[in-house]
């Protein structure tokens, strides 16, 4: 289906479905970036410090592109990021968790699990029916490729020798939260029927499992059985989050609140 739909073409149901899809995209990228920057100055080599900084910058860039599309639908940056109640964020709990104290295996494994999912999700948006989204997906996909390569090249190294136990611990801890990436949206049917996304969330989950499980097992790791792992009570996608999220949200908003809601540095940007 060619990308022919624009904001003015949407009825209320289509708009609600599209917004749910966009909030997930934007919030995942934004919160993942927020956590990654905590590694600044702590990464184990200068190159990996720069790499992670670069990945975080990309994720913020992508979050901005997705929040832009929500702004085109009438939202404002203040409302989307700085003043939205924390329990209205729709990111998966995977990206909000603090890192296990100084654990490089945690950040690398998290990046791998997340970036593998992100790649599949974006692939399923390349042929979206929504024109403003179609315009941006290719650019974001090409920037994401390096993220996955970076994570895998580190995982290959960490899985050799003693550090494999740390990767295994991180996997046991993070895997249940990674599954929350694939909670079915409330508007799943409308998202598919309107061609906003061309693969169902259930199929994305299957494809992700078929990607990450063989790879992680090839590194000698035991992957928890997806249907048997104990799922956290916080699901992320429905607005329920771990306590860590409230702390992180308060932290990244502190300066905004101290400066009493500064206007972003732009003049009269017009959306027509």
């Amino acid at each position: 289906m060619p990308a022919t739909l624009n904001p003015e073409d949407l009825d209320a149901e289509q708009r609600a479905a599209l917004e749910e899809l966009l909030f997930r995209l934007a919030d995942d990228e934004y919160v993942h970036g927020e956590r990654l920057i905590e590694w600044q100055i702590y990464a184990p080599t200068l190159e990996s410090d720069l790499a992670l900084a670069n990945v975080a910058q990309d994720e913020f860039g992508h979050a901005r592109l997705w929040y832009d599309l929500l702004e085109e639908l009438g939202h404002t940056e203040a409302e989307l990021i700085w003043e939205r109640p924390a329990d209205e964020f729709r990111h998966a709990t995977l990206v909000e968790l603090p890192f296990a104290e100084g654990d490089w295996a945690d950040v690398i494994l998290r990046c791998y699990l997340y970036d593998a999912a992100e790649r599949l999700r974006l692939d399923a948006l390349v042929d979206t029916s929504y024109a403003p989204l179609a315009d941006r997906v290719g650019k974001v996909l090409s920037e994401e490729r390096y993220h996955l390569e970076n994570a895998q090249s580190w995982l290959d190294r960490l899985a050799e020798g003693d550090s494999r136990d740390r990767v295994q611990d991180a996997l046991d801890r993070l895997f249940p939260h990674a599954l929350s990436l694939f909670a079915e949206p409330d508007h799943e049917e409308a998202i598919i029927d309107n061609g906003f996304r061309t693969m169902s969330t259930a199929d994305l989950r299957i494809e992700w499992l078929e990607t990450v499980i063989p790879y992680l097992e090839s590194l000698g790791l035991d992957v928890p059985e997806p249907d048997e792992v104990e799922r956290p009570s916080a699901r992320g996608r429905d607005g329920t989050h771990t306590d860590h999220w409230d702390e992180l949200a308060a932290e990244f908003r502190r300066t905004y609140e101290e400066l009493e809601a500064p206007e972003p540095a732009r003049i009269g940007r017009e959306r027509v």
Binding site: P2, A3, T4, N6, P7, E8, Q57, D58, F60, G61, H62, R64, L65, D68, E72, V126, A131, P132, A134, D135, R136, V137, G138, K139, V140, L141, S142, E143, R145, Y146, E149, P264, A265, R266, I267, G268, R269, E270, R271, V272
Partner: protein, 147 residues
């Protein structure tokens, strides 16, 4: 962003370790304002004056400008207004100078004498170094960058 056509399908060329990928330049790019007339030509001239924040090269020669057009529409007071529209891209999505660039472009449009200005970001086709013009390459070489 309301007029992206289906012809603008993303170009899937990329390499692993850099955003500045080599790729075929899509038909009609880079856009340089050749053949533009009237107010549109004036907007192109003003855009040539805007330099990239990191390198002494015009954003037009960098290949960032995707379209310039002037349309007429009815203002709130019922009078006809001219609206200058610039479609542009960014070299990468995390560009920290995006707001500054958009503001500069906004000012360039208004300086050409239209009533209203609109800057729209587009990411299809994806920007590549091959979209840098010959004049842009020359400016970058002088700056010490080979492209």
């Amino acid at each position: 962003m309301s007029d992206v056509s289906a012809d603008d399908a993303p170009d899937a060329t990329a390499c692993g370790h850099t955003e500045y990928v080599d790729g075929a330049v899509p038909e009609g790019f880079p856009k340089t304002g050749v053949g533009a007339t009237g107010v549109e030509a004036d907007i192109w001239d003003a855009l040539y004056e805007i330099e990239d924040p990191e390198m002494p090269v015009s954003i037009v020669d960098l290949g960032l400008i995707y379209d310039v057009r002037v349309v007429e529409r009815e203002g709130e007071d019922g009078e006809a207004k001219t609206l200058g529209i610039v479609e542009m891209t960014l070299t990468y999505t995390g560009c920290p100078a995006r707001d500054y660039l958009e503001n500069d472009v906004q000012c360039a449009i208004l300086a050409a004498g239209v009533d209203e200005a609109s800057v729209r970001l587009r990411f299809t086709p994806e920007w590549t170094v091959d979209m840098v013009t010959e004049a842009g390459r020359e400016a970058l070489r002088k700056f010490g960058l080979g492209v």
